[in-house]
């Protein structure tokens, strides 16, 4: 059984040019293809016709690198809770029209077609998404005990791959879920404590500086998150910032 699809895809030659939606017909799509493989097939056909293939970001294609974010029919990463590369065409119906757009946020400018520049996230991480330790030989793992529940929470939110789906889904274009994941991940561990206050203040300031919007706790971010980062990381983010204010930051 194969599928015939109508694809409406955002095409934009480069960052400074205007873009528009283009419509493509794609026949004989296997339901077992991943969404990106479906785009690969379309690109092969475009190549054969001598047209410019559709540029989209991708890397690992196994759901762990966070490169392949696409807005599919109004949902970040499409209708399933996973990354675009792990989305399969069986999630769509034969004859369906699929609208594919890049992440829309002024802090994520379009580079070409469906590729956006997410380096704003890198700069947010540069402002505190790390811990300062001396490098060298690894320290003895048991020298700093970590309570099990804390370790579990840190690991759960450390699964954030920085794909930007939270920003893409948020009606305010806020990156609070992303920041909350980093704040909670490092704040739950003993190694994250010395820089805890400066981390949250610097990261949030960079977030605001990049032009992301403020959070209104709608929850569209967590619904879109392929790693199911829970909304309570934003509560943690807010709490850490409130604590930093109290500490005079």
């Amino acid at each position: 059984m194969s599928m015939n699809l109508t694809l409406k895809i955002w095409r934009q030659p480069d960052a400074s040019s205007a873009g528009a939606m283009h419509t493509y017909q794609l026949a004989d799509v296997s339901p077992d293809m991943s969404f990106l493989e479906m785009l690969d097939v379309l690109n092969e056909q475009l190549n054969d016709k001598g047209e410019d293939p559709i540029a989209f970001d991708h890397d690992c294609r196994e759901g762990i690198c966070g490169s392949c974010g696409l807005m599919i029919n109004g949902d970040a990463h499409g209708p399933e809770v996973t990354t675009t590369c792990q989305l399969h065409m069986r999630s769509f119906k034969d004859g369906e029209t699929i609208t594919i757009e890049p992440w829309r946020a002024d802090a994520f400018p379009v580079v070409k077609d469906l590729i956006v520049d997410r380096s704003a996230f890198d700069r947010i991480v540069q402002q505190g998404g790390y811990i300062s330790v001396n490098t060298g030989s690894a320290p003895e793992a048991h020298s700093v005990p970590v309570p099990r529940d804390d370790a579990l929470r840190a690991f759960n939110v450390a699964t954030c791959i920085g794909c930007g789906a939270c920003v893409a889904a948020c009606p305010n274009g806020s990156a609070s879920l992303f920041m909350g994941a980093k704040i909670t991940h490092l704040g739950e561990l003993p190694q994250g404590q010395p820089e805890r206050d400066s981390r949250v203040v610097n990261m949030v300031a960079q977030h605001d500086h990049e032009g992301f919007g403020g959070c209104t706790n709608i929850g569209a971010c967590t619904a879109a998150c392929p790693k199911e980062i829970p909304l309570d990381v934003i509560s943690q983010l807010n709490k850490d910032l409130r604590t930093a204010i109290r500490h005079g930051h």
Partner: protein, 275 residues
């Protein structure tokens, strides 16, 4: 991560040398190459913020909204309690209104406490509206190119109505104060210095009741999302259970307030509350 350039000038080596936990900064070379082709190296791109202050962040604005919102929550609960005195009759309602002015006497002048509360409410209104306007404008600028197709998966209707719902409540507030406090408009042309009679005369007019009920719907929706949102902004919802509790609390209080306020005009329409 199309345009990561770890060698950028604003990325001082002293900062990067001990960055752990940012392994996803390591970008495959070919994608860096693609980005360079497409966009050119971004050497004079966005900068890193220096000297950040916590009080200047969007989260500080959200804290302002949450705290001023809680002042309003206390106010509407007390106001609703006072309104329900209407079911106890003309004298009970008017005496309650008079007692409000006598609280604290003789330490405070007549109506003194009321004015202290009013100043607090006006200050809260200024903070709430100011923060809302700043955040609304930020959100509008954060996505200037809209999606062709966008679903609001995971969002409640109330959460998407906060801004225009807030404007609705503000417009109603102006009318409500003109109606009952500042100008005292009696739509039936009757007396205006008797709070109970002014209230009954007002709600005897069906379309004034409709305006009131629409405003209570807006208030209910605003509280439904606002209470939970305030709890989240204040950092009180750190677990799934606490989050659920905050959402249920928000819904229950919103229901109590909107129904509690609506009972009085409905009571007038039904002929339970009469002059």
């Amino acid at each position: 991560m199309a345009c990561v350039t770890p060698e950028r000038e604003d990325n001082a080596p002293s900062e990067t040398s001990h960055q752990l936990g940012a392994s996803w900064l390591c970008v495959p070379r070919y994608r860096l190459h693609v980005a360079t082709q497409l966009n050119g190296p971004r050497l004079s791109g966005p900068t890193l913020v220096k000297g950040a202050r916590a009080s200047r962040t969007t989260i500080a604005l959200k804290l302002g909204m949450a705290l001023s919102g809680m002042v309003f929550l206390g106010f509407v609960l007390a106001h609703m309690y006072g309104n329900l005195k209407a079911f106890a009759g003309h004298d009970a309602f008017n005496e309650y209104a008079e007692h409000l002015r006598e609280i604290g006497e003789p330490m405070l002048p007549h109506g003194g406490l009321l004015w202290i509360l009013r100043v607090g409410l006006i200050a809260s209104l200024v903070v709430h509206v100011y923060c809302a306007v700043v955040l609304w404008r930020r959100a509008a600028k954060a996505r200037t190119t809209k999606y062709v197709v966008k679903k609001d998966t995971g969002a409640t209707r109330a959460s998407l109505m906060m801004r225009w719902g807030g404007v609705t409540i503000l417009v109603f507030l102006v009318w409500h104060l003109l109606n009952f406090t500042i100008v005292k408009v009696n739509p039936q042309g009757g007396e205006t210095n008797d709070p109970y009679n002014l209230m009954v005369d007002t709600f005897d007019v069906w379309w004034l009741t409709v305006i009131y009920l629409v405003a209570m719907l807006a208030l209910g929706a605003h509280l439904h999302h606002g209470i939970w949102s305030a709890a989240q902004t204040l950092g009180w919802t750190g677990t799934a259970a606490k989050r659920q509790r905050a959402k249920v609390t928000g819904f229950v209080i919103a229901l109590i307030v909107s129904v509690g306020f609506s009972l009085v005009p409905l009571g007038v329409l039904a002929g339970i509350i009469t002059k």
